[in-house]
């Protein structure tokens, strides 16, 4: 609780000790909450109280990180925590900078919304004893992945996160769930093996797994006796693993079944948080770690008219992400147009939207002048996706509580029966489409801006086509479920007020982000700059005097 105590609103800068305490705070809070809610056993009220308190403390810790470490005028911008006091290349490092703080904030917001909504749909609490502990362990995994400064630890946190998500996909225990969970588990076990291959190869090639140390070694391969070329291929393996987590085409096939099988409250978290872990890892590894490695590249991208040439592996990252992002936009958009239930439309839409997040990242990787703007666009779009998709998945939960179904054929006329559900749902759909003044508008606008600045008409056409598809499926979703004559299931629907209030709060957040966009943009820009400033990252994690002991002699 010293964390909370240190969060007294003081205008002055906080000391280095307080800064490192803040870095580890969200991880500890989530872990302690998970364990405490497990220990609460049959004390339902106690368990709910602990969960809520923990989620709130998590949010406060993240807000404190945002302010004291990133956004305050005299903030350091980056802070580290060396686990056990071991210095960087040897010990485990936790790092917070603008990028991870931005991601943590999204997760904290959607986490608390999902938790509040979950409490209302689990009336039979004795059967659901392990729901809340699992929920917090999922948060532990996600938080750890955002905070870690070490590649192998990233693997470990991925597994922590995945273990909880496996159980959630299988949670309802029906035929659909067991099947979806098996596909999900198998795919991710293969991905874990591939991740280990990439990590092992990088260790053998570059001689370190600490991201800062790795970044420094790859930036000056000659000084450390490293051949940077194999790193490109090994990084390709890691990129595939992260693309699986993010659900980019061609690694998207597990998403529709897993998102439909998981409880909608968890699907909101899967789309809002675990997907973003994949995006975060791609941005962090590409730009902060391998971006500065000198590798000569010259390659033309078919159909876009872009000539990729450069001296960095980022060119390859850009080319691969281009292909995956464009394919995701179309596969997701077209799949969503044909969905038969609200959550299947949303699951496919999630594939398309992650394409919209990956596209500016690809542009940032390929075109050096657009680097900051590209990452800003990706971060803002990711924020919009987390809020809007989170809202819509939570709305699926609320619709199911109210009507007992979420299949489009059995819905209709919900707008007349429960306007308190319809209004937030409408706002969420509009945010997905990108109507001003919602958060989605700025996300779309920035993606358009970045695409237009590449002067490639093909890219702009892709973005426009993707937007039209999102308009089509959002309209279809709205007319099928909320307009028209009420169906029999809808006529008897009773809306849960807490769930509706959570939805309304998220809808207000979407409007708020859109109206007060200035600080959000500043935050995203801080995130993008942190991702691109590899030197500051290296300096903060592993101060330069270590060079003399670590240099030379590597195979």
């Amino acid at each position: 609780m010293s964390v909370i105590a240190s969060w007294t609103p003081m205008p002055a800068a906080i000391g280095a000790d307080a800064a490192s305490t803040l870095v580890v705070a969200p991880l500890l809070i989530a872990l302690v909450t998970g364990v405490a809610s497990l220990l609460a056993g049959r004390q339902h009220r106690g368990r709910i109280g602990v969960s809520l308190f923990g989620a709130l403390a998590y949010l406060l810790a993240v807000v404190a990180i945002d302010w004291y470490l990133v956004l305050a005028p005299d903030a350091p911008g980056i802070a580290t925590y060396q686990v056990g006091g071991w210095p960087a290349p040897f010990g485990i490092t936790l790092v917070v900078d603008g990028l991870s703080a931005f991601m943590l904030t999204m997760v904290a917001v959607i986490g608390i919304a999902s938790l509040l909504s979950s409490i209302r749909v689990l009336p039979d609490l004795d059967r659901h004893r392990y729901y809340f502990p699992l929920f917090h362990f999922l948060m532990v995994g996600v938080t750890g992945a955002f905070l870690t400064g070490d590649l192998f630890n990233l693997f470990v946190w991925f597994e922590v996160m995945l273990m909880a998500s496996y159980l959630f996909v299988a949670y309802d225990g029906g035929p659909l769930q067991t099947r979806a969970a098996f596909w999900y588990v198998s795919l991710n076990l293969v991905a874990s093996a591939v991740f280990l291959l990439g990590v092992g190869g990088l260790y053998a090639t570059a001689g370190s797994l600490n991201m800062a140390d790795l970044s420094r070694r790859l930036a000056e391969p000659a000084a450390y006796g490293i051949d940077p070329v194999p790193v490109v291929g090994l990084f390709g393996l890691l990129l595939a693993v992260f693309a699986i987590k993010a659900g980019l085409v061609p690694f998207q096939f597990w998403i529709p079944s897993a998102y439909q099988a998981a409880p909608p409250q968890i699907a909101a978290l899967l789309a809002g948080a675990t997907k973003k872990v994949g995006i975060y890892a791609i941005i962090r590894l590409s730009f902060t770690v391998v971006g500065d490695a000198p590798v000569d590249v010259s390659l033309a991208v078919p159909f876009t008219g872009l000539e990729l040439a450069g001296d960095s592996p980022l060119v390859f990252v850009g080319a691969a992400l281009f292909a995956m992002a464009v394919a995701s936009i179309f596969v997701g958009g077209l799949g969503a147009v044909g969905g038969r239930s609200i959550e299947s439309v949303l699951a496919y839409s999630s594939i398309g939207q992650v394409g919209f997040i990956a596209l500016p990242v690809a542009i940032a990787a390929a075109v050096p002048e657009l680097r900051t703007l590209g990452i800003v666009a990706a971060l803002v779009y990711a924020l919009n996706h987390t809020l809007a998709k989170g809202l819509l998945f939570l709305a699926v939960g609320a619709v199911r509580t109210a009507t007992g179904t979420s299949r489009l054929a059995e819905l209709g006329g919900l707008a007349g029966r429960s306007p308190s559900l319809a209004v937030p749902f409408f706002v969420g759909s509009l945010a997905l489409v990108g109507i001003p003044p919602l958060s989605g508008f700025f996300g779309k606008f920035l993606v358009f801006d970045v695409a237009a600045r590449t002067a490639s008409s093909a890219l702009v056409i892709v973005v426009v086509a993707g937007s039209v598809l999102s308009l089509v499926y959002a309209t279809r979703l709205w007319t099928r479920s909320f307009w028209g004559p009420p169906s029999t299931a809808v006529e008897t629907a009773v809306t849960d007020h807490v769930q509706a209030a959570v939805l309304l709060a998220l809808a207000l957040a979407i409007v708020g982000v859109g109206v007060g966009f200035e600080p959000v943009y500043a935050f995203a820009e801080a995130g993008a700059e942190a991702a691109l400033d590899a030197d500051a990252y290296v300096e903060a994690v592993d101060p330069a005097d270590e060079v003399s002991t670590g240099s030379g002699g590597d195979h």
């Binding site: 067991t178 099947r179 588990v185 093996a193 280990l196």
Partner: protein
Amino acid sequence: MTAIVVATVVGALCAIGTYLLLQQDLVRVVWGLSLLGQAANVYLLAMGNILPASPDAVPVLAGHGEPPSGVTDPLVQALVLTAIVIGFGMTAFALFLSYRVYQEHGTLALAELAEADEAGDRR
């Protein structure tokens, strides 16, 4: 010599794992996943740099970077230990899950499960 043996073992484990992964039976798929994980572990261990055994190099593995003679690279071993623990946990979970799939569907054949999937999509 050691390097060739280790490389062969990794290759064989990968090959058998992939073969099992492509089988019709869920339990075999789990075996395949487990073997693939083990292949990754052996590979990870080998990444600590393999040197021929000699009085001042520990058999199989010698240091990485500038090795003090007679000490293995402890990092890869720590990594592999962690990976093995995680891998066992995941395999146990996958086995349990295949048991649940059998309970729900009365079959472990992938073709029948895929049919159920398509039927689920049509509903």
